[in-house]
């Protein structure tokens, strides 16, 4: 008994301690959990900025960093008939030749980057309880806009994808790896954007705005091929919101946040943490590559024929390699011939903003909404919007009717190299026809299954049998 007594005392003390309410309180100060991270408006605001930081991507060549939209042109422009690599080498050239493999690092980097954006949006949404009543609605609207933006790109690139609409833990494998039908993903996108439209105003261009949400929602409706009248109404509301075309096409890309920009991702020159290397990679051996996103002969022909006064600012000859042609939008180190000043002292730390939505896109989508899936229109409102875009390019001969084909061609030229072409081809139902012909002419190996990217192999491996691959990979 003499020996046992101290043990009993010890156990008793232990029981007393563990029964105390404050056993694990206050919350540890040296470690932060996601649930308690945002405790007031100011902190939530930092989470909101964090979402845009995730879209912006990291300017580095470290393959484990999330490049996000800084490498989006590989998956969109280089997979269309607009651009290709200069050297046709490596995994970068898989896109132009339609031989993308499931282990392609750029495909998986984009996938991871965009789920990071979704995670950060979900993080903001999970913290709304901590927001003041005045700010809660706008935080929600902003996070939902960003989440919808990310899902809209993912669903168009990868098809059926996991749908994560809240914070999840590492053990929730089911939701992380179960691919859901695209229609279900679109349901979330539409409801998120409807919330965004009603909760935002037009204060920002580098952050979500009402006009950006309306434009994106209209694009979602056009992509689904439903609600054309609703899309038209949304676009007419944006048209009436004070945006205008820059009189000079060049200024759209070299005057930041001009009146034509609806939503752009902001970059700051010469800051590693806040700049982009998109522009440098498009030059001859200035970035990591010897040059990517070079303009195809097919695109040059289209731009020469339909560009009007825009053509010089769409593409230019590569001075170092005169048989090659580069994109002339977003040049980081200036071009004296075109009257473009350098935007950064180091082109790899470029500050050119990346425009996601602009007014010319709205005007052309307005025509598309009026076409409503039909072959041609001569409605006055459609002609007016179409003519506005063409007039700026000096193509002032009045148009009396617009076919679907005219509209697709006009979009190709006006929005060339802004990562629209691939999505436009798919949305217009022309992708298989146009890309097969393009592929045959260039000896590439396009199949209809190439219209969806592969689910990254690493995801399939991690899913332990839950995830299946897209056909053709």
């Amino acid at each position: 008994m003499k020996k046992i007594y101290p043990f009993i005392l010890l156990i008793f003390t232990g029981l007393l301690m563990s029964c105390g309410d404050d056993f694990l309180e206050p919350l540890p100060e040296s470690a932060v959990s996601s649930e308690s991270y945002f405790s007031n408006d100011e902190e939530i605001e930092s989470g909101v900025i964090g979402m845009y930081d995730a879209i912006q991507g990291i300017n580095s060549n470290n393959l484990t960093d999330n490049f996000s939209i800084q490498r989006e042109y590989y998956l969109t422009e280089m997979r269309s008939d607009n651009t290709r690599t200069k050297s046709s080498e490596g995994e970068a050239a898989q896109f132009e030749s339609y031989t993308v493999t499931a282990s392609n690092g750029i495909v998986s980097n984009y996938y991871i980057s965009f789920y990071e954006i979704i995670y950060r949006a979900n993080l903001v949404l999970s913290s709304l309880d901590a927001a003041s009543p005045e700010k809660a609605a706008s935080f929600e609207a902003e996070a939902k806009f960003v989440r919808a933006y990310a899902y809209f790109n993912l669903v168009r690139l990868y098809g059926d994808i996991p749908l994560i609409d809240r914070l999840i833990g590492p053990l929730e494998r089911e939701i992380s790896y179960t691919r859901v039908e695209t229609s279900e993903v679109y349901n979330l996108i539409v409801s998120d954007l409807q919330t965004a439209v009603s909760g935002l105003d037009n204060t920002y261009k580098n952050r979500a705005s009402k006009a950006a949400a309306q434009t994106l929602l209209a694009k979602v409706y056009l992509t689904q091929g439903t609600n054309y009248a609703e899309a038209q109404t949304l676009l007419e509301s944006v048209i009436g919101s004070g945006f205008s075309l820059e009189p000079n096409f060049k200024d759209v890309f070299y005057t930041e946040n001009n009146n034509e920009v609806i939503f752009a991702i902001g970059y700051t020159s010469d800051l590693t943490s806040d700049s982009q290397n998109i522009s440098a990679e498009w030059l001859n051996s200035v970035g990591r590559t010897s040059g990517v996103n070079y303009v195809t002969a097919d695109a040059r022909e289209a731009l020469d024929n339909l560009g009007g006064s825009r053509t010089p600012y769409l593409y230019r000859q590569d001075a170092a390699q005169p048989t090659q042609y580069q994109v002339a939008k977003y040049i980081p180190n200036g071009d004296a011939n075109l009257g473009i000043a350098p935007t950064a002292s180091n082109p790899e730390l470029a500050g050119n903003d990346w425009i996601i939505l602009r007014f010319a896109d709205v005007l052309l989508m307005h025509v598309e909404a009026i076409l409503a899936g039909g072959q041609q229109t001569s409605a006055t409102a459609a002609i007016n919007s179409f003519q506005r875009v063409r007039n700026r390019a000096g193509l002032t001969t009045p148009v009396t009717s617009i076919t679907k084909e005219d509209l697709l061609a006009e979009r190709r030229v006006e929005l060339a190299f802004e990562n629209h072409r691939f999505f436009d081809l798919v949305r217009f139902g022309a992708a298989q026809q146009v890309l097969s012909a393009f592929s045959d002419a260039n000896g590439y190996s396009f199949n209809a299954t190439d219209l969806l990217l592969p689910i990254p192999q690493r995801e399939i491996n991690l899913s332990n049998g839950l995830m299946s691959q897209n056909p053709g990979y």
């Binding site: 009248a229 609703e230 038209q232 109404t233 007419e236 909404a369 009026i370 409503a372 039909g374 072959q375 229109t377 001569s378 409605a379 006055t380 409102a381 459609a382 679907k404 084909e405 217009f428 139902g429 022309a430 298989q432 026809q433 097969s436 199949n447 209809a448 299954t449 219209l451 056909p471 053709g472």
Partner: protein
């Protein structure tokens, strides 16, 4: 085998390597094995699948997208006698009709799978614009007119005084009459109409006025009103003022050309200016411009 035993007794280790090699050689020689020996089942047999989409340029041409898995060769039968062996395929059909498309996908092990789907080809009709029926367009009363017999019941709007009707209409039939400004509250003629969105239309009506400076006005409104008070702030698609003084009984044409927007729900409204004399309206119609 006997040889190995004998040698092993003398110097096993010396000949072990040679023995193993001999063994290896024998083991690699499948010459006398049965053909099925050691082969395993084809665990990933082909799965045939495709989707068809109509071409924009020609309704008889279809693009076929091949979504088969685990296959290397494909045979398409388009159901019209044409065939193909490409991965994806395009076929132009001779005529309208229902065709059965069969895709047979095979792998190199001789397994195959077949997927069949029907398409029905119908020439798409050019969309025709709605030609709306205007209730009591000629302002005639009659047993079935506007559900009540009174032609004015087709033209009422709350908050506005309805026009009077008169036998001084166009061609001697009945028409609408607007009182002179001095005599009574202003009269309005309103009707909600459904037409096609994004289409050009022409609204035509006939008016007669008796004093210089008098007017009759026709307006097309984007949307439909529930009260006359909404008119002043309504968004208009078109408006024309008729001011040709032809005298009583001499009708002039009033034309409003307009294009509809996202919604085909519109309304038309006629009223008069601060007229010195009575004025008249008759025979309203809306037709598509093309």
């Amino acid at each position: 085998m006997n040889t190995i035993k004998q040698i092993a007794g003398i110097n096993f280790s010396k000949f072990l390597v040679a023995g193993c090699m001999l063994f290896g050689l024998t083991a690699c020689d499948f010459e006398y094995d049965l053909p099925e020996e050691g082969s395993i089942e084809d665990l990933t047999p082909p799965e045939a699948s495709f989707t068809a989409s109509q071409s924009d340029a020609d309704f008889l041409t279809y693009n076929f997208a091949n979504f088969s898995g685990s296959a290397t060769t494909y045979v398409w039968d388009f159901g019209d006698g044409n065939t193909a062996t490409t991965v994806d395929a395009v076929n132009t059909y001779p005529d309208e009709g229902t065709y059965t498309i069969t895709l047979t996908a095979s792998d190199a092990l001789g397994k195959s799978d077949t997927f069949t789907s029907d398409i029905t080809i119908v020439e798409p009709e050019a969309p025709t614009a709605i030609t709306p029926v205007i209730g009591a367009a000629d302002f005639q009363d009659g047993p079935d007119v506007c559900g009540s017999g009174d032609s004015r019941d087709c033209w009422r709007i709350s908050g506005g005084s309805i026009h009077q009707t008169t036998s001084d209409g166009r061609n001697g039939t009945r028409g609408a009459k607007y009182t002179a400004a001095s005599s009574n509250s202003p009269r309005v003629t309103y009707q909600a109409v459904t037409v096609s969105p994004n289409t050009k239309y022409i609204l035509t009506a006939y008016y007669a006025i008796q004093s210089d400076g008098d007017t009759v006005r026709g307006t097309v409104i984007d949307g439909q009103l529930s009260n006359y008070s909404e008119f002043s702030s309504a968004s208009l698609l078109g408006q024309t003022v008729g001011d040709v003084n032809g005298g009583k009984g001499n009708f002039n044409r009033l034309v409003v050309e307009f294009g509809t927007g996202a919604s085909g729900e519109i309304s038309i409204l006629f009223d008069s200016g601060s007229n010195a004399s009575e004025s008249y309206l008759d025979d309203v119609s809306i037709i598509p411009a093309e």
